[in-house]
Symmetry: C2
């Protein structure tokens, strides 16, 4: 069995790495079993790894000197900053190693919405567009972290602040379809993460003022009193 072979041949180099690799195989095995309808478990596999055992909803943001987005601003709004970067790369994948020249990586998963009602969702779906329109050459990545008080609130209390009093969804709706967005959740990843949410927006240069208005409106809400860390990263696509 492969696990046993690794144990024999690699132990002297690095037990930690071998362990990690076994865990990776285990996860791969589970993903395989899931896809095939076989009994699933995080158990050892005797086959080579398929290309990706990761959650397909996982996105990695790599700040550094590479990637299609040039950074025009990387500013702490609340709490500690992120190290300055020249460019941002965005991958719909796990990135196991910090690439050469990169300063940092942030990760998050898209997930089910936590507050929207069916009525709100219907309006959102009817009006929104996906990221990546060719004309949307401006973008922003805004990582935020909410404080412990927020997370101790119950669902009805959070919903009341988020929408009834802060109009988060209603405000976003006003800027559709001009401002497209994708929300990534970080809080419940297995490893400790510096932010709870990463929101990526893109828009046309002509809508840059509208985007400022949107961000400014949200920052003035009761919901934002619970934001203990926020970084504002503005981006422009090459040649724009």
């Amino acid at each position: 069995m492969l696990l046993q072979k690794h144990r024999k041949t690699m132990n002297t180099h690095s037990p930690i790495l071998m362990q990690r690799r076994e865990f990776l195989f285990a996860t791969i095995s589970a993903a395989f079993a899931s896809a095939s309808g076989m009994p699933q478990c995080l158990c050892g596999a005797d086959k080579p790894a398929p290309s990706s055992p990761m959650n397909p909803r996982l996105h990695t943001f790599i700040g550094g000197s590479a990637g299609p987005w040039a950074v025009t601003l990387c500013k702490a709004v609340t709490g500690g900053p992120l190290p300055a970067i020249q460019r941002l790369d965005i991958r719909n994948a796990a990135v196991p190693v910090l690439p050469e020249g990169a300063q940092w990586m942030l990760r998050g998963v898209t997930s089910n919405e936590r507050y929207a009602t069916r009525e709100e969702k219907t309006q959102l779906v009817a009006n929104q567009t996906g990221l990546g329109r060719p004309e949307a050459t401006h973008a922003a990545l805004i990582p935020i972290r909410k404080n412990a008080t927020w997370w101790a609130l119950t669902q009805d209390e959070r919903r009341a602040i988020f929408e009834d009093r802060s109009r988060h969804t209603a405000t976003g709706l006003k800027y559709l379809p001009a401002i497209a967005r994708r929300l990534h959740h970080c809080r419940d990843l297995g490893e400790s993460e510096p932010f709870d949410f990463l929101t990526l927006f893109d828009y046309r240069p002509a809508d840059a003022n509208a985007f400022e208005d949107l961000v400014s409106a949200l920052r003035g809400t009761e919901e934002w009193k619970f934001v203990e860390r926020e970084v504002d990263i503005r981006l422009v696509r090459d040649g724009q």
Copy 2:
């Protein structure tokens, strides 16, 4: 710098493992920075790893031949089974390697509640006890996965099914403080997971019938029509 040293000394053995180790260091670095109030990033560290870079809300369930819990039943209720095991170990930590003799591992994080109102939460807190009472020598681990239809519902629709029509919280309340429980979320972990939730219960032998009633009541609800996979693992602590 440590990363550079690893690059030089380990590249020939396994680039994949080295990469994973670098990512581990990067995550550790971020956790360190977070604790110290320094600017945070997933960047390379030049210090040895502290004991745990993992989310402290992460729990690992190890099925195999070790651990304090003897398995009396491991049965698929809906969907595929898990491989049979003799014992279950539960650790409030990441477990990077499948231990010797283990058949599988499952992981989940405790998180904020997604449906409870303040009124419900107040009742829960007033009545519930934590896991681990000495007299609670019986336990159950019930991993479930909900289908895509469930996850496509909006928050108000899920809440209506979960509580208004299925009485999930109200039913659990009826069995407090006899049946203690802890819910672990798996769906938004970075890696693909075979289940969405792992619920761990413990109770006294005298409350075993009450536990059957609770499980049976939940399985009869509208909410459970969205459960596409469920395994029921029953446990008894040694010497009981």
